[in-house]
Each structure stands twice: as C-alpha cells, then as structure tokens.
C-alpha cells in the first residue's frame, strides 16, 4: 500500500482521505455508537447497572433522606422496623417499582411507535392513548365525582384502549390500509377531537379542572402500592409482544412491499405492535397520568447508540426509559423541598436540554 500512496498525486490522496473519513463517519452514524453484539450486550449491562443505581437513589433520596446502609437493611432484614423502614417499604419501594414499570413501558412503546410510523415525531400518545385516557378521566371526575388517582386507573385504561382502537380502525380503513401516515393523521385527528371534549368540560366546570390539572401533569407521587400490581399484567404482556414485534419492525423499515416479499405478514406485525403500544402506554398513563417526554425522546437517544436495529433498540429504549424516569423523579423530590415537582415537568425541563444537545451534536441516525 505505501507504494501506491506515493504514486498517487497528493491532492487526490487528500481528497480520498477526506471522503473516506466522511464515509466512515456516515457509516458510524447509521450503525450507532456501539456495534457488534458483544459491545451492545456490554452496553445493556451498563444501562442495567445505571438503572440499579437510579433505583437505589429513588429509594434513598427524598424529603427524608435515608442512608444507603439503612436502605439495604430495610430491604434485607425483615426484623428492621422504625420510621425509615415504613417510609422505604410503604412509600419509596412502591413508588420506585411504579417508576420502573412506567419508564420501561414508555421507552419500549416509544421505540415501537417510531418504528411503526417511521416518523421522528411518533410519540406513543399519537395513537390517541393519552387523549382517550384524559377524556375518560375527565368524564369520571365530571360525571361520577371520582377524585383519587387509584379511582382513575380503570377509567384511564379503558379510555386509552378505546382511543387506540378508534385510531387504528379509522387509520386502517382507507384504501392503503394502515399506512404510517394514515395512522398518524387518524391519531392526531382523534386526539384533537377528544382533547376538545376535555377542554369543553374544563372550560365550563372549575371543580373538574381543579382535580384534572393535578392528574394531567403526570406524577408518581400519591399512588399506592396496589396500582403497580394492577397494571403489571398488562405491561408484562405488552413487553412480551414488543419483543416479538421487534424483528418484524426491521423488515417493515424496508417498506411494506419489501417486507411482504421477504415473507413478513404485514397486517399481523402492525396489529401486534399496536396492541403492544396500547397496552404499555395505556397502563403507564392509567398509573401516572400522561407523561409525554419519555416515549418521544428515549428512542432517539437509544438509536444514537444502537443504530436502527429494533432487536437492540427496544431493550435499550426500555432501560433508558427507566433510568430517565427514576432520575427525573428523584430530581423532582429534591429541587423544591419540602414540596415536589411532578415527574412529567422535571422530565421536560431536564430531558429537553439534553435532547437538544444530542440533536445538535450529531446528526441523529434517521429512521
């Protein structure tokens, strides 16, 4: 090789170098930061470790700070009692558990949603889930006078399911079937319709607004332990379907015709994916209210690391979702002591600058 470089005119050699560098950079962007199964599994372990640290923080930090030693004691020693033990077992652990479930669901649902719509704005809320849940919760407050988070759960979940089914039914009924664009448009139309109904009630009834404004922010606080167990089965099924759906998404990313040619049942893949998104987002929204930012942003961050392969993207998004949600929740407990900032607000305030920096720093790998 050295002889060849010597023979080539320097100008040409320089240009080739530049071109090669540009090509390598492009390739790097397309494939993400980590490639090769070994590094990616390593990254997954790293994320898992981060998630464990976030859990520990979430149990230890709060209005009442508890040392990590005490946390460990409360977790391992059933005989340990006292105020700290009560706080940890009755408040912090259920809350952390809920955070894990919700972060996991929203991250995974976001990755699936962006894969199915092939749209960087594909937020899980786009399927009408958040709008359906909001409408149902407003209905529950306005008509039935229910005002506790645990009372909202099943209304929110039913509303989320109905919203999603309506979007899918309308989005897939046109001539082209369930194309990404028709789904996204049906989703935004039905969401707008439902939000209009919500606003109509809120504008005319202050009492409903008074309860609803605290639900709609999205928060992990004030949720008792039963809520996590109530939504757990739905999230479990949703995660399972998501793992099944991930390889199919890689094929669908090539375009529906190519995917069909390669033997993928396109409608089946869509139905599985959308069922999974609905279960995950519906359960998360039912438990905590609409938390918007995670599903939208986490997949972009994950894609920068893994590239567009959904078999990696889905687990990475899930774990990143957990880390992001728990850290945001902890930050929310600390910044305005003794009060609390709801996790939905912290996520936007902390997550957005980070996200913008990421968008600016590197060209995100496209969908």
């Amino acid at each position: 090789m050295p002889e060849r470089t010597a023979q080539a005119p320097p100008a040409v050699a320089r240009r080739t170098d530049v071109e090669l560098a540009a090509q390598a950079q492009q390739e790097q962007r397309r494939r993400g930061l980590l490639h090769g199964p070994a590094t990616r599994i390593g990254g997954l372990w790293l994320l898992l470790a981060l998630a464990v640290v976030a859990c520990a923080l979430s149990i230890a930090v709060g209005t009442r700070s508890i040392g990590l030693g005490t946390v460990w004691q409360a977790l391992t020693d059933p005989g340990f009692t006292g105020d700290d033990a009560v706080v940890i077992r009755e408040l912090r652990i259920p809350r952390t558990l809920l955070g894990i479930l919700v972060g996991l669901s929203l991250g995974v649902a976001g990755a699936l949603m962006q894969g199915h719509t092939r749209n960087p704005l594909g937020d899980p809320g786009l399927l009408g889930v958040a709008a359906g849940a909001s409408a149902a919760v407003v209905g529950a407050i306005f008509l039935l006078g229910i005002t506790t988070p645990s009372g909202y759960v099943w209304f929110a979940f039913a509303g989320a399911l109905l919203g999603s089914v309506a979007v899918f039914a309308i989005g897939s009924s046109g001539r082209g079937g369930a194309t990404p664009v028709s789904l996204a448009l049906a989703g935004s139309a039905i969401s707008a319709l439902l939000y209009a109904l919500v606003r109509a009630v809120l504008v005319s009834d202050q009492q409903t607004l008074d309860s609803f404004r605290f639900w709609v922010v999205g928060s992990l606080s004030g949720r008792d332990a039963t809520i996590a167990w109530q939504v757990l089965p739905f999230i479990a099924v949703g995660l399972l379907l998501a793992m099944v759906n991930a390889p199919a998404l890689n094929l669908l990313g090539l375009g529906e015709d190519v995917a069909r040619g390669l033997g993928q049942h396109v409608l089946l893949a869509r139905v599985v994916g959308i069922t999974s998104i609905t279960l995950l987002t519906g359960a998360a929204t039912a438990a905590c209210g609409p938390i918007g930012f995670v599903g939208l942003v986490v997949p972009h961050i994950a894609r920068a690391v893994t590239g567009p392969d959904h078999r990696w993207l889905v687990p990475y998004s899930g774990l990143l979702g957990v880390v992001l949600l728990l850290v945001a929740d902890v930050v929310g407990r600390v910044v305005v002591r003794p009060g609390e900032l709801q996790v939905g607000i912290v996520l936007a305030l902390v997550g957005a600058p980070f996200f913008i920096a990421l968008v600016r720093r590197r060209k995100l790998s496209a969908l």
Binding site: P120, I170, L185, A192, L193, Q206, L209, A352, P353, R360
Partner: protein
C-alpha cells in the same frame, strides 16, 4: 389547443390531466387546484356574511348591508361594526395565518405532523401568557413587569423568542427540517411543562382563565387586535405565496434543489421565518387555536390533489374553519364555548372522513 392525457402505470392511478398549449408555452391545468381557492373564497364570504347577522341579537341580511354602508339603526350599527365585525375580521385573519403557516411548515419539513406548534410558537406563547395570568397579578417587580406587558404582547414575544431560539439551536450551516422539528419538539415540551406547572401552582380562578386562553377564543376581540394582525398579513402573505415555487423544488431534497438553482439556505430561512411570524401574530390575537394549522393543509391537499399542501387554498380554508366554528359556537351550541374547541370538533371528523374515504395514501 388542449388535449387530455390519462396516465395509468402499474398500481398508479393518476388523474386526467388537461394540457394547455398556447404557442410555445404549455402547461398542465389542474382544475381542482384552481377551483379550490375560488370555492373556499366563496364559502368564506358566505360564512362571514351569515356570521355578521347571527348571534344573541339577530339582524336581517338587508339591515346588515345597511349598517355596513353606514345608514343603519344606531344599535344595529354598534352591534355589527363594533362587536361582530372586528371579531369576524380577527377570525378570518387568524384562520388565514394559521392555514398558511401550517402549509408552509408541513411542506418545508416534509412531515404531515409538523405544524407551527412543533416549532414551539404555541408553547412559548402559552408559557408567557399563562405566566402573565398567574404571576402578573402579584406585587413583586417581575410580576408588575409581566402584568404591564399585557397578554397579547407577552404571547407574541414569548412565541417569537421561542421560535428564534429553536431556529438558532437548529442552525448548523443551514436548517435541516428534521433537526428543526426535533429541537422544536424538545423546546416545546419545556414550554408546556412550564404551563402545566404554573397551572398546578395557581389559584383555581387563574387556572380557569388560563384554560380559556389556552383553548383559543375570539371573545371580545376589537379593532385594536384586528389592525396589527391585518398589517402583518398584508406584508407576509405575498412573501409566502412568492415562496411557492421554491417550496415545490425544496420538496425534492436539498441537493436536488441546489442543483436546480434554488438558494436553499435563504429559501428555507424565509419560509420558516414567515411561517413563524404568521403563527405568532395569530396566537397573540386569539390564543393558540388548536388544530387549524395541523389539519387544514392536510384537508386542502386531499381536496386539491397534488403532492403538497396548496398555500392559498390552505389559508382560505383555515379562515373558513375558524369563522365557521365561531359562528357555530355563538349560535348553535347551548353554551358559548371558545372557538378553539369547535375548530377541533368540526375539523377532526372531516379529516377522519377524508382518511376513511382515502383516495390514496399521501406520504
């Protein structure tokens, strides 16, 4: 002089196209694209005329015409020229601005989900306006300053600042549509989080006032709001329409556009800035009326055919939607709801119907 060509490729269904040749000049005449703005304009005039006469105090069409030329009965004169006319004019202008702005942004970003909301105008304007409502009543220096600013100015400044910030953050040797939209999404979520936070911290009365503003309303609009809005539109609408050709070329992607002789950076900057300014003045005048900028261009492109939202037709249809919704809100509904609710209730089913009937998928 004219021939009809029908193209039918495998799996492709193309409309009949009428080709007109006059001497050496020839072009395709797309009847629907030419007809749609005319139909929309006629509809707009009709809806506005009906809207002038209808309300809690109905006035006959003859009397409306008489007041317009200044020979009506004084009460009617007052109702028509001081109460209803400014409201309708603001509605028309806001609708024009939103429809046009949405069409520009969706064409620029090549994304049917993009709208001025995506560029943070609504988020910034809402955060500023809700801050004025919630904090502006206080006694501290900052509160006084906010209160003194007034709602429309605060909204305008908030919206423009946010949009410029997004534009600046997304600028790296030019604006990439994808990056602009993503930065917009990020910064918008900050704005809306601030809105939610302010609303949870406020008294319930302030929260209710903020909710009404956030819905978008034409209540109690006067000529004071109509004039500045009209002036801005007189400047910006021709600029936007003049961009039409560049927008068409930009659709093919930046490289192709550059090769075809479009100054890409300049064209993109003009398009985005015009769209942002249009959306910002409309938010300042009527609050963030939902859905118009998002849906009207999609409805227009489905009605007119073609590969991108038609600018003029989108603007006119936007105006029809806003004024028509306001008319419905004032006359048919039992409670006077803000117009922002009705635009969604009227517009959404129509878009859904178009989707279900779906002549073809548009992407």
């Amino acid at each position: 002089m004219s021939t009809t060509i029908t193209t039918r490729g495998p799996g492709v269904r193309t409309d009949r196209r009428r080709v007109v040749r006059i001497g050496p000049v020839s072009g395709v005449v797309r009847t629907r694209q030419l007809l749609l703005p005319v139909v929309a304009l006629v509809a707009l005039v009709l809806v506005s005329a009906v809207s002038l006469g209808r309300g809690d105090y109905p006035i006959g069409l003859a009397d409306v015409l008489r007041t317009l030329v200044g020979i009506g009965d004084p009460t009617q004169q007052f109702v028509v020229t001081q109460l209803r006319a400014p409201r309708i004019v603001v509605g028309v202008l806001v609708g024009l601005a939103l429809g046009l702005s949405g069409a520009l942004i969706q064409t620029f970003a090549r994304n049917p989900l993009a709208s001025p909301d995506t560029l943070g105008i609504n988020a910034g304007a809402s955060a500023a306006a809700v801050a004025v409502i919630v904090v502006g009543g206080g006694t501290s220096g900052a509160a006084q300053l906010l209160g003194g600013l007034g709602l429309p100015v605060a909204a305008l400044v908030g919206g423009l600042l946010t949009a410029l910030l997004i534009f600046g953050l997304a600028w790296r040797k030019g604006v990439d549509g994808y990056r602009l939209v993503l930065v917009g999404v990020g910064l918008s979520s900050v704005g809306f989080a601030a809105v939610d936070w302010l609303i949870t911290r406020s008294t319930i009365t302030d929260a209710a006032a903020a909710t009404v503003w956030l819905t978008g309303s034409l209540n109690a609009r006067t000529w004071d709001q109509a004039w500045p809005l009209g002036l801005v539109l007189v400047v910006l609408v021709p600029v936007a329409l003049a961009c039409s050709r560049q927008l068409g070329v930009l659709q093919f992607g930046e490289d192709t556009a550059r090769a075809l002789g479009v100054r890409v950076g300049a064209a993109q900057a003009v398009v985005v800035l015009v769209a942002v300014a249009l959306a910002a003045v409309s938010v300042a005048a009527a609050g963030p009326i939902q859905f118009v900028a998002l849906v009207v261009p999609q409805v227009a492109v489905r009605l007119a055919g073609g590969s991108r939202p038609p600018l003029l037709a989108s603007a006119l249809l936007g105006a029809v939607l806003v004024v028509g919704s306001d008319l419905l809100a004032r006359t048919v509904l039992p409670v006077a709801l803000p117009v922002g609710i009705v635009t969604a209730v009227v517009g959404a089913p129509y878009l859904l119907w178009l989707l279900v009937r779906g002549r073809r998928a548009l992407s």
